[in-house]
Symmetry: C2
Subunit: 338 residues, 2 copies
DNA sequence: ATAAGCCATGACAGCCTTGTCAAGGCGAGC
DNA sequence: GCTCGCCTTGACAAGGCTGTCATGGCTTAT
């Protein structure tokens, strides 16, 4: 197969200079239409692909976007990759993935890779996206970055988020619509901003519908299965239990299901359970979990888009951001109260 | 911060030529020890990092390893990435991830990226690793590759595998040791080579211990939760049911648990359940699933190692391969028969 | 002592593309 | 008809590093 066709040969075949081929390749203006066509034909005929190393050495772009993560959830990570790649491919960019070890000095891990591979931009996922040391390094090196679902300091950089408050609000509304009035809630890890937002959405819906929030029916969790399990044990002890439990994420909701199972409480007949995130586990229980789906791929694609200049921004303007829609996924774990 | 230190400045500071710095950087022989030291000090002092584009343009290496996948399991994918990166970083290599769309013409997707980014090697995961069209393109482009857990044509290329037969053999042995004699089995997707291997290991263990394999206690599954669920419904209907079920993967095992749950069969008191793969879901059920853990990260690291020349091979020798050890993860879903 | 050979180092070209700048052609305005 | 300025194109250098080959010093063998 065509092993290494250079821009030279394309130029010769199409009878123009190298530079003009370069212009066509980079979609630059000021090339006559028929010249452009001729070059494109030559490119196709020779099956020419520009050499990315030469490009980035000569020019300013590296055609590489980095994805930094340090995320325990594989499903999240792959979704981010998939979403980002989808957008990157359109522009001929590639994705470099760099898992970070949050135990160590994260910033120290970031700096060398920024230096070696001069990436055109970086996508940061939680929790790295809230690591100020990393942000500092990125800024010092002048590498543009976009944060996915950041918790803090939203104004500091471009970012993409989902409306956690409204999602929790609507999930609570869904339970209320099913007739539940005593709805238990399991909060997420207090260090995650999303925890507060989700709790707020829950409170808001309860209040708006005039249902009291019983303090002893709100438990602190930590986003883990075990913490959900333990919270549920407290919530479901005795007969004075809620008819529905809304956990701040799926893993905890699965913990609730496990307890219900143990106590022989039928889901959803006796107890409705709702989660948040739509992790793969949500479909791997019986009954399947009602939950909220974050459009992770779309969010990552939006982040890539921001990086690739989908919206150029002038000096001094606020960093761009996008707010994406969530999706309520109603499955079998929630049902009418009886 | 040090924005762009070039090899030039390192050379000047250490009082040697550019070329010598290059030699030190590439760990080439024939550099006097104290020269080497001096250069290394200068590198450290200036915080110099070689520019990867320039390196790959000038030399033959691109310092990039690709990971191609088209795998439905996020956990698998991330583990592969983590394992591969761990090894790559030691040598200053980076990872490019390229999800493939198996619906389309996979080979056509592969060719352009091989052309643009001349990667030094590619790691192929199932099922891409058995796509002959992709292998053909890779070979035509002269890009070295290593396959992870390939099914077919093992002699064709370097690969890394786990001993599925022995793993299934030992899992079955574990159940037998617990006193089970009537052990049901759910086969995996017939298109996956691993399915046959696992079944074989099961058969082998049953035979060796003199236990009959009841044909009506072996069901065909397809690696999905649903197929495991349905297989279990058949297996567990009536009183003449096995005391243990060994499913060829975790998702199907979870399906079995769901049915047991439904039928109010206590696990493991009345029914022992074993899976295979140790997916995250295995820990998110109650009781937690006994399963087999593939050392995926280690396998990926071994693949990277093969690529990075951990074992150079001479002309005409067979492609290198590695066989890694699995691990039996005994949790609560299996117990003594009663 | 002389030749042969190895070791350590450097000079220089080249890798393939893009950025800069200059030049020629051509239509518009006066 | 002439100047101005825009559109289109090309020549050339530059980008940071490695490969090749040459150089000189020093060791080993004769």
């Amino acid at each position: 197969m065509s092993s290494k066709v250079t821009i030279h040969e394309v130029a010769r075949l199409s009878g123009v200079s190298i530079k003009t081929v370069s212009r066509v390749l980079n979609r630059e203006p000021n090339v006559k239409t028929d010249t452009r066509t001729r070059v494109q034909e030559a490119v196709a005929a020779l099956n020419y692909r520009p050499n990315i190393s030469a490009r980035s050495l000569a020019g300013s772009k590296a055609y590489l976007i980095g994805v930094f993560f340090d995320n325990p959830s594989p499903a999240y990570v792959t979704d981010v990759q998939l979403g980002a790649i989808a957008r990157c491919r359109e522009e001929g960019y590639h994705l470099i993935v760099e898992p970070l070890d949050s135990q160590g000095d994260v910033a120290a891990q970031v700096e060398p890779m920024l230096h070696t591979l001069r990436m055109d931009g970086v996508i940061l996922t939680p929790p790295v996206c809230d690591n100020t040391a990393v942000l500092d390094v990125l800024e010092a090196e002048g590498v543009p970055y976009v944060r996915l679902s950041p918790d803090q300091d939203l104004g500091r950089s471009a970012h993409v988020r989902m409306d956690d408050v409204r999602a929790a609000y609507e999930m609570t509304g869904h339970l209320i619509a099913l007739g539940h009035t005593d709805i238990g809630f399991i909060k997420g890890h207090p260090d995650h901003g999303a925890s507060h937002l989700r709790y707020e959405g829950y409170l808001q819906a309860m209040k708006e519908h005039g249902h009291a929030v019983r303090e002893d029916h709100v438990e602190q969790g930590y986003f883990s299965f075990r913490s959900g399990f333990e919270a549920a044990e407290r919530l479901l002890a005795g007969d004075d239990r809620p008819t529905a439990i809304f956990a701040s994420n799926d893993d905890m909701a699965l913990g609730v299901m496990a307890v219900a199972n143990r106590l022989r409480l039928e889901v959803p007949q006796t107890l409705s359970v709702a989660g948040f995130d739509d992790t793969p586990g949500a479909k791997v229980v019986w009954p399947q979990l009602t939950t909220v789906r974050q459009p992770i791929q779309a969010m990552a694609a939006a982040a890539a888009d921001l990086l690739l200049g989908g919206s150029k921004r002038g000096e001094g303007e606020a960093p761009p951001s996008r707010l994406l829609d969530f999706q309520l996924v109603v499955r079998e774990s929630t049902g009418p109260v009886r």
